[in-house]
């Protein structure tokens, strides 16, 4: 593909990962992006628990949650689980 990618002699066999998963930004897979209504959100943190990618964090300083769009794949589980329907999936 691009010139930055390694050649077949440079990579380990059998698809062995030579980088940690934190370096593979999977956020660009998403079609729909979760957007939060700050008024409706009660900071119950259910979305933090349900997110399968650990892409929703609790920021202690701000006392609020944050979406990490570098890793959010847009699955919509957070929006589905939110008890106050504060999360809407919007086309990117």
């Amino acid at each position: 593909m691009t010139t930055q990618e390694k050649g077949w002699k440079e990579i380990p066999p059998a698809g062995v990962c030579w980088k940690p998963s934190t370096e593979y930004l999977t956020g660009d897979w998403k079609t729909y992006k979760p957007v939060r209504d700050l008024e409706k959100c009660t900071r119950c943190l259910l979305c933090v628990i349900f997110c399968p990618d650990g892409a929703i964090h609790w920021n202690g300083e701000k006392e609020d949650i944050e979406f990490d769009y570098d890793f959010c794949k847009g699955c919509g589980i957070c929006a589905n689980e939110c008890p106050t329907e504060a999360i809407e999936m919007k086309l990117e």
């Binding site: 990618e5 077949w8 990579i11 380990p12 059998a14 698809g15 062995v16 030579w18 998963s21």
Partner: protein
């Protein structure tokens, strides 16, 4: 040879010879499902386990798909792994065969070659392994039970070689070899154990940036065989081709080293030529049929006919240069295929031999004979007719039928 080890003569059928070789090869895990004509292999091996003669973990699984899955995953943890199957079982493994080779899992598998259904037929032909020729497995075909034994011992060394790291199929013709009692010379346990040695692991860069052995180990974690998309999948497939190229060299090396202790060799381990040096006409075949062809070659030679045989022992990787060299003086070649490629103008061995010879400026006539499907016997008189066809082609300088069927009723 001075270094040849004294050996016991054992009365074994092909399956028992394979099981005995696996028993001596210090196998850690066997996962298998019984299927005729392979069943004796795993039955015999399970007896070894039950009697405490081996320290192998024997996993009884519910299908061949699971057998191959268990084998390749055990292999990924660093275990030496063996299994055996035959036609329908091999077909059920199809998906996992590619996963095994893709994960570079050096599993060794004996296949008692059998016809594929339908109609149901349990007897010998090569339809099963030929259907898996593109699965990334090395394929070695034995001519007799002795060679099946020798090949299984060698297979572990070939598969696990760090330049190869590919799974190996050792094929033995169903019933003709699998169920026929022969004298088999068995090496002492300690000699085989020393020959196969312990698995070695290349170092790979892990996701933590560390150089760690290529095996699944919770202390030194790596990930094997995960997602690779448009940007990397192709590169991993190219690596497998490199393993196949290296295997051409390693198979010869291992075969030579084994010959020094056993006193037995099969050509160079890739190809076995028989009376080919001055041959004008030659047959090419795989497996047990070569024994019959050799008898016919002897008869023809006694009559002054310059007939020869080239037995392909290693079909994957295909020994391209060896085939070209072996056939350089031959004027007409008959390729015998014990399987069909329906609608493909001849069988798979024919396709490949003809394809290899395209690069030779003055190539011989190459014709195809499909034979022995579903275990149908192919005797010396039929092989003699093939040689007579080749003589006719040379006399008339004309091929009437490039693809023919041996012993088929019209």
């Amino acid at each position: 040879m001075e270094s040849v080890v004294k050996q016991k003569v054992l009365a074994l059928n092909g399956d028992e010879a394979v099981a005995y070789a696996a028993k001596q090869s210090d196998v850690d895990v066997v996962a298998a499902y019984p299927v005729t004509p392979q069943t004796i292999i795993v039955e015999k091996f399970s007896e070894y386990v039950a009697n405490g003669e081996v320290e192998t973990e024997f996993v009884c699984v519910e299908s061949e798909h699971s057998a191959m899955t268990a084998c390749l995953t055990a292999s990924a943890t660093g275990a030496r792994t063996f299994t055996a199957t035959a036609a329908p079982g091999l077909a059920l493994m199809h998906e996992m065969l590619f996963v095994a080779s893709g994960c570079r899992a050096p599993v060794v598998m004996a296949v008692a070659n059998r016809a594929l259904s339908a109609p149901i037929n349990i007897h010998g032909d090569h339809s099963d392994t030929m259907a898996e020729r593109d699965s990334g497995w090395i394929q070695i075909y034995a001519e007799n039970s002795q060679e099946a034994y020798d090949s299984v011992v060698q297979a572990f060394r070939i598969a696990e070689n760090m330049e190869v790291l590919l799974p190996v199929i050792v094929g033995l013709d169903g019933f003709t070899l699998s169920h026929t009692l022969e004298n088999v010379h068995g090496l002492p346990d300690g000699v085989v154990r020393k020959f196969v040695g312990n698995r070695q692991f290349p170092l790979v860069t892990s996701h933590e940036g560390k150089a760690v052995p290529f095996k699944l180990d919770t202390e030194k974690p790596i990930t094997i065989g995960p997602l690779a998309l448009q940007n990397y999948y192709f590169e991993f497939k190219r690596q497998q081709e490199d393993g196949m190229t290296n295997a051409l060299k390693i198979i010869r090396q291992v075969h030579k080293e084994y010959a020094q202790i056993s006193g037995r060799q099969y050509g160079d381990g890739l190809l076995e030529p028989y009376n080919l040096e001055d041959a004008e006409i030659a047959v090419i075949c795989l497996g047990s049929t070569a024994g019959t062809v050799k008898t016919v070659v002897n008869d023809l030679r006694a009559e002054g006919v310059k007939a020869g045989l080239l037995r392909i022992r290693t079909f994957r990787p295909l020994p391209v240069e060896g085939i070209i060299k072996a056939l350089q003086n031959v004027k007409a070649v008959a390729v015998m295929d014990r399987s069909m490629s329906f609608g493909g103008h001849g069988g798979p061995v024919f396709h490949e031999v003809r394809h290899v010879l395209y690069d030779v400026s003055e190539h011989p006539y190459v014709v195809n004979y499909i034979y022995g499907l579903g275990g149908r016997d192919t005797g010396p008189s039929q092989i003699r007719e093939i040689y007579e066809d080749l003589q006719r082609i040379l006399q008339t300088q004309r091929v009437e039928k490039p693809v023919q069927y041996v012993g088929l009723r019209e």
